[in-house]
């Protein structure tokens, strides 16, 4: 897909010399990355390399301080936007550890989320009937039981159910930029395929994804345009999809860190 990109197309996400610290400790130490619309980039790296920090700083979590550099999303300075503003502008994070909210049904939560973005875009809110119709159609694609909708958000969900629920939310919200943080962890092979199908269905010339993963496995299903290796807070190597396969064979040892 990357080859099909017209030359000079402005990147959707442009990161320049990004440094990020948590409680004064530098975790990301100068990241440069450009993601154009239509592209899928994979960020791979060993534990502790800064992958989740990268996901959180993009989505605007408190406590992740940008000490140097810029993150531009559609030319806007992302660091100045509140988390909900980023979300409404089409940035979605599939959480590595989705959060439980007791008493709040999946449908209630998701309808609030969908309508928050619709309101921001000046569209009418979806009423309960229209929402349910849409939700059930998306759930069928993801081979999810409709009973999911009435369960309390992530409460008592298995690891796989949580991840599938993240992808379900993503397909409902149709983000322009999806960041998937270790969405493959805890998934068996069938679930992995279903989740990957969900991500692939969203691929389009005006959307992009960042797939963060430790393992190459997910990338068999979500074939990336670019693969980047993150180690010790820096992107130490970038390449095409074949780079992921090399990593699978050799591990991360050559990047000076334990796998």
């Amino acid at each position: 897909m990357s080859a099909a990109q017209p030359e000079g197309k402005a990147p959707m996400l442009e990161i320049r010399n990004l440094h990020v610290a948590i409680e004064g400790k530098e975790i990301l130490r100068g990241i440069d990355l450009a993601v154009a619309p239509g592209e899928v980039h994979a960020i791979m790296g060993p534990n502790g390399s800064g992958k989740s920090t990268f996901a959180y700083v993009l989505s605007g979590r408190d406590g992740y301080e940008v000490t140097e550099g810029d993150i531009l999303y559609d030319g806007k300075n992302l660091a100045e936007m509140a988390p909900e503003e980023r979300a409404r502008a089409g940035l979605f994070l599939a959480f590595q550890y989705p959060v439980e909210i007791p008493g709040v049904a999946v449908s209630t939560f998701l309808r609030a989320a969908v309508n928050a973005s619709r309101t921001y875009r000046g569209e009418d809110e979806l009423d309960a009937v229209a929402f349910l119709k849409l939700a059930k159609a998306k759930m069928a694609e993801l081979e999810m039981d409709e009973k999911f909708l009435s369960r309390a958000l992530n409460v008592g969900f298995s690891g796989g159910e949580k991840k599938r629920n993240e992808v379900f939310q993503m397909t409902m919200l149709e983000p322009r930029l999806a960041v998937l943080d270790e969405t493959d962890s805890g998934l068996d092979i069938d679930a992995l395929r279903i989740v990957a199908d969900g991500v692939n269905r969203l691929r389009s010339p005006d959307r992009a994804s960042l797939v963060i993963t430790h393992y190459q496995r997910l990338l068999d299903y979500i074939v990336p345009d670019r693969v980047h290796v993150l180690a010790q807070g820096r992107i130490v190597k970038s390449g095409g999809k074949e780079l992921a396969q090399q990593l699978e064979k050799k591990g991360y040892a050559e990047f000076g860190t334990a796998a």
Binding site: E84, V99, P102, V104, F109, A112, A116
Partner: protein, 485 residues
């Protein structure tokens, strides 16, 4: 309180300011300020009451005089001593004749109700809810009366019931909450202004939700509402009560008494959404809500259920209770209470098991934010004769921020070996993780808090009649505005 589109719009347009903080410009007729025997006689005379009721009031007044410095001190609330002489005990909108229909009601009054989201004129077309609107001390309009009358249901201001059904009022008034019960109940008995009276005859299922909207309008007026609901054998009634008060800097007192009587096989559901003015963000002003609510399950197989959503008032002191006298009778208490800014609430219930095979359920959800302080105080008493009594209690506290407090004070007294009493309690906080998760999905801080709090309260909210549920949900969000960030 029907959730008309206007209601929803009003709620949605509300900002962090108290949205019911307007006053209505109507000439009021006051009794002189202060409390003395003449005031009690004045109130009774204004309402053209029979001698027995005046005597009852005077007896209460004399008892109050003996005890007026004995405010209940055990509750976990703080306020300066109340100067009972620094308030008006009677205020009625000035009108020469009592209105016979909505057309005769002062349009300014009707506009007030419209701002509150209950346009009475529209009520007539909206199916299902009869509204008895209490404006300060006098009921101004009662709708659906004729339909109810056909079924023998009496639903009218209690002042009117005193005239039209004196025997019923006399039989039950004070029979659940005795005059001497507590200082505020004694005061109410002496000076009660108006309130609702409901009687449902044997075997009748009241065909609609009965609803009263209370509102304190005149400055420095205490509102002493008195409500009496009697469900005769085999009958059923569901009653909704909603409250608002305009914004004023002084503290105002609301000392209501509500009595419910359920005879054999009868059921009463009583739901309250209380959003009296809570004071400003620095704790200035607001209503003192000192309320005595109690129901008696007099007959076998009777049932009384209290549901309350308490978001308003500077101080709430309230324990809707059930006396389980009849065998197999059932008492329920479902409560959501919010204290934000400098609000204080000491609220809970008493379940007094007297009959055999009686059972009670208590679900209490307390939310504290800002500098709010909240105490759940509950008593479960199983008397010696109450064979096979059952109680289940669950008290959950949710804290938002570092300055607030949530306290649980359960009393359990079991005097019968067959008693089965369960108590569960939990305290939790809204976590940063939860807030971030919601915000990452596009919700604002405040919407996220409202969503999480509604989830926390779900078990109670689903007990509310549909008409109430939507507005009550929004009210939770509004009450907690400014609680985070």
């Amino acid at each position: 309180m029907v959730s008309t589109p206007e209601t929803v719009e009003t709620v949605e347009s509300a900002t962090g300011e108290y949205k019911y903080g307007f006053t209505t410009e109507i000439e009021s007729e006051f009794a002189p300020k202060g409390l003395n025997e003449d005031i009690v006689r004045f109130i009774s005379a204004k309402k053209n009451e029979p001698g027995w009721l005046l005597d009852w009031r005077l007896k209460a007044y004399r008892l109050f005089e003996e005890r007026r410095h004995e405010e209940p001190a055990w509750a976990n609330v703080k306020h300066p001593p109340i100067d009972f002489d620094d308030a008006y005990y009677y205020a009625a909108p000035k009108q020469t004749e009592k209105p016979q229909s909505l057309e005769e009601v002062d349009p300014e009054l009707l506009r007030t109700y419209e701002k509150l989201g209950i346009p009475l004129k529209e009520q007539e077309w909206l199916a299902g809810v009869a509204v008895d609107a209490v404006f300060d001390s006098v009921s101004v309009a009662t709708t659906f009366k004729s339909k109810l009358e056909k079924m023998g249901v009496i639903f009218c201001p209690i002042s009117e019931a005193v005239q039209t059904h004196p025997d019923l009022v006399r039989k039950y008034l004070g029979s659940v909450v005795p005059v001497a019960d507590n200082l505020y109940a004694t005061l109410n008995s002496a000076v009660f202004s108006d309130g609702s009276f409901v009687y449902v005859p044997p075997g009748v299922r009241c065909p609609m939700e009965l609803s009263t909207y209370f509102r304190i309008n005149a400055a420095e007026t205490g509102q002493f509402e008195r409500t009496l609901i009697v469900a005769d054998e085999g009958s059923y009634v569901s009653y909704l009560e909603g409250c608002t008060a305009p914004q004023r800097s002084q503290h105002q007192m609301h000392a209501a008494v509500v009595e419910l009587v359920a005879l054999k096989d009868a059921e009463i559901k009583y739901a309250t959404v209380q959003n009296w003015y809570p004071g400003d963000k620095d704790g200035k002003g607001g209503i003192y809500n000192f309320v005595t609510k109690r129901g008696a399950c007099r007959g076998a197989n009777s049932k009384i259920s209290w549901t309350q959503v308490e978001t308003g008032s500077a101080i709430t002191w309230k324990y809707p209770s059930v006396l389980l006298q009849g065998d197999n009778s059932v008492g329920e208490f479902y409560s959501v209470a919010i204290t934000n800014n400098y609000q204080q609430a000491d609220t809970g219930t008493k379940m007094i098991h007297l009959g055999r095979n009686t059972s009670s359920t208590i679900i209490s959800k307390g939310i504290s934010a800002g500098h709010g302080q909240q105490t759940y105080r509950g008593l479960v008493r199983i008397s010696g004769k109450a064979e096979n009594a059952r109680n289940f209690t669950q008290c959950d506290s949710l804290l938002i921020g570092e300055q607030c407090g949530g306290h649980t004070v359960p009393y359990i007294e079991a005097r019968n070996r067959t008693a089965h009493v369960e108590h569960e309690a939990s305290t939790s906080k809204i976590s940063d993780d939860q807030l971030f998760y919601c915000r990452q999905r596009g919700m604002s801080d405040e919407d996220a808090v409202a969503l999480i709090v509604n989830g926390f309260c779900k078990e109670v909210m689903r007990k509310l009649p549909m008409e109430f549920a939507v507005e009550a949900q929004k009210l939770l969000g509004i009450s907690l505005e400014g609680a985070v960030g």
